[in-house]
């Protein structure tokens, strides 16, 4: 059972570590001492940072250990308060958080390529641990400005070795050479990438030469680096069918619509192929697919219902279904 959205947990900061230049890691425990609900690699939590601000941070602790959660937070000077407030937290401070939720799940495959840019390393850490435990073939490509800014780089190298943990610090070797990193697709390999938008755009472009559907990305909203987009529940009105349904936080529009027996053609179900494109009659979507161009998004008439949701502050979408 997932807790309904909006339910918060009182947590306390157990300790704070400076893990790189401008990056701290916070270890959180429940105030009541109970364990957190089980979660899967790629999950994040909402953190209520005060003044009504809610930020999402990926978990970088081990899903095997439920007595605590760890998040990594990059201090962004102009982030409208989110990371600044978190950076001000000290051991013993209390704050409200959500149970872990996952928009970036690790799918079963035989091989993985993990690709991190800067603080984008956080959700990939539990993924690496899971891949290693399952005996999968995997490599991490981790790029950053300089070693000093790259959280957990050393720790990962020590634990897994430099064959599989490949660190590329820009001040030493220049920017990531994506043409060579992604120039040779491997069979049954999924690519999980997390980092700033510019890097992810470049990765997406290179992955057009890979089998459709292999790339999975977590986009950090630019203004709140280190925070992933939230999953809030909302309503969808099906204009043709004439019914209105609730889309809970753990379901996609596609799943919710199929749940009442309305058919939508789908294929990848991951925002990659464009098959589930649906016309929006009213309401504001939050696009999470890798298909629509900027122009499409601005034009505003369509969305891919297998991944995209209603925008924050839009309680209801009306769709041509």
């Amino acid at each position: 059972m997932t807790a309904p959205a909006g339910t918060t947990i009182d947590a306390v900061v157990d300790h704070v570590d400076v893990v790189a230049d401008q990056v701290v890691s916070l270890v959180l425990r429940r105030v009541d001492g109970r364990p957190f609900q089980p979660w899967q690699p790629g999950a994040h939590i909402d953190v209520h940072v005060g003044d009504g601000l809610v930020r999402q941070y990926s978990l970088c602790s081990s899903p095997e250990e439920l007595d605590h959660l760890r998040i990594g937070v990059l201090h962004v000077p102009d982030s409208r308060g989110g990371s600044k407030a978190v950076h001000a937290l000290l051991a013993g401070f209390q704050l409200a958080i959500s149970e872990p939720r996952n928009n970036f799940p690790l799918r079963e495959s035989r091989r993985y390529l993990f690709l991190a840019g800067g603080i984008g390393i956080t959700p990939l850490m539990p993924m690496i641990e899971a891949a290693e435990r399952a005996g999968k073939e995997w490599t991490l490509i981790y790029g950053g400005r300089s070693r000093g800014t790259m959280a957990f780089a050393r720790q990962l190298e020590d634990r897994y070795g430099t064959d599989r943990i490949r660190i590329f610090a820009e001040d030493e070797v220049g920017r990531l050479d994506l043409d060579s990193i992604l120039g040779m697709p491997r069979a049954h390999m999924l690519v999980y990438a997390c980092g700033p938008g510019g890097l992810l755009n470049a990765v997406e472009e290179r992955c057009m030469g890979w089998p459709p559907g292999v790339l999975h990305t977590e986009r950090f909203v630019a203004s709140t680096l280190g925070a992933a987009a939230a999953n809030a529940p909302f309503e969808v009105e099906l204009a043709r069918t004439g019914s209105t349904i609730a889309v809970p936080n753990d379901k996609t529009i596609l799943e919710a619509v199929e749940g009442i027996g309305v058919r939508v053609l789908s294929s990848c179900r991951g925002g990659l192929c464009g098959t589930c494109e649906t016309r929006i009659i009213s309401g504001e979507p939050e696009h999470r697919d890798a298909v629509l161009t900027e122009e499409d998004r601005e034009a505003g008439g369509i969305m891919l219902v297998c991944v995209s949701r209603a925008a924050a502050g839009c309680p209801r979408l009306v769709l041509d279904l």
């Binding site: 120039g183 040779m184 697709p185 491997r186 069979a187 049954h188 472009e205 290179r206 057009m208 030469g209 890979w210 089998p211 459709p212 043709r240 058919r263 053609l265 789908s266 294929s267 192929c273 464009g274 098959t275 494109e277 298909v291 629509l292 161009t293 499409d296 369509i302």
Partner: protein, 399 residues
Amino acid sequence: MTATTHEANVLGDDPFATENLLDPYPFLGRLREAGAVSYLESTGSYAVAGYEEVYEVLTDFETYISSGGLGPRDIRKDSGWRPPSILESDPPIHTVMRRALTGVINPGTVRALRQPFTPPAVELAEQLARRDRFDAVTDLAEKYPLRVFPDAVGISDGGREHLLPYGNMVFNAFGPENYIFKQAFAQEDEHAAAVMRNCQRENLDDTGFGAQIWDRVNEGIITEQQATLLVRALLSAGVDTTIFGIGNTLSVLVRHPQAWARLRENPKLAKFAVDESLRLESPFQKFHRTVAVDTVLGGVHLPAGAKVLVFLGAANRDPRKWGDNADEFDLDRNASGHVAFGMGLHQCVGQPIARLEMEIILQQLAERVAAIEPDGAPVPILHNVLRGFESLPVRITGA
């Protein structure tokens, strides 16, 4: 590696025998029953027809490579009849070509085609709806893609008559050099030269997919030769397949009047009707892969260099995947996961274009035609790897 391997079941049946080309399904049923992997004496290749094995071969592109060609000969050893296309390449060469092509043809760019693709469909459907009988292949399926697709690529009007014969050569060459192949290649030089002319930058208009592919040369992603080959790939892979897709969909729908009625009531069902028809009557039935390194598939040892004939059309009717009614059309079936467009690395780039063309023409026809039924027996085409009809006479009631 699996500890126990067994010999492949040897089959004497020839998939390229005339009767098996005209009506493939009885043979494909026997092939699926024979085991996960069979050996075909007639072609000297292995064969996979079950969904699971077909899926594995398509997705493991390192073990089952494409650079040996999609035909029965290994074109790495004795060079093929033309420079290898994107379809006949492996990473990293495939990777740059595919990246360039996907940047040009993707759901976003194809969406813009709905507008130019609609009026010709309206015109054609209006014309046909005024008659009481027509041939759904020669009067419709062959007409529509040739009206809209070459314009989308941006080729000139001259030389379009070579597209069909050229496509016929390309696809028949994925089978053995039998009499069908020879017939297709009778005027090889003329057709090939005409199509190659169309692929040159100076012969393409400035806005079509062809010109956009050439733009990728300036961006340094592909070479001029690769641009030529990519435009050639569109022109050879994009016409016949879609014609057969439209014809096959109608061949199914004329036998299902209730589905037609539902389609008229709810035009949104057109997409589903097309998808289910492609599953049931897959236009691209089969092609070969080449085994790169010794491997085991379905308990059978496959030696490096062996050819594997991959039966998409059989995987799409595998009862283990689709249930006991796998051989039947069911408009309510969820057909997603079918391999009519392939799967994985080489999965059809033109899929959104093909789907768009098929959906538009079907919707326009359904809007104007109250009922459609067979008017005599359809005539299947004799083709090495494509499944379709030469003629599909129909009788209609106007709306």
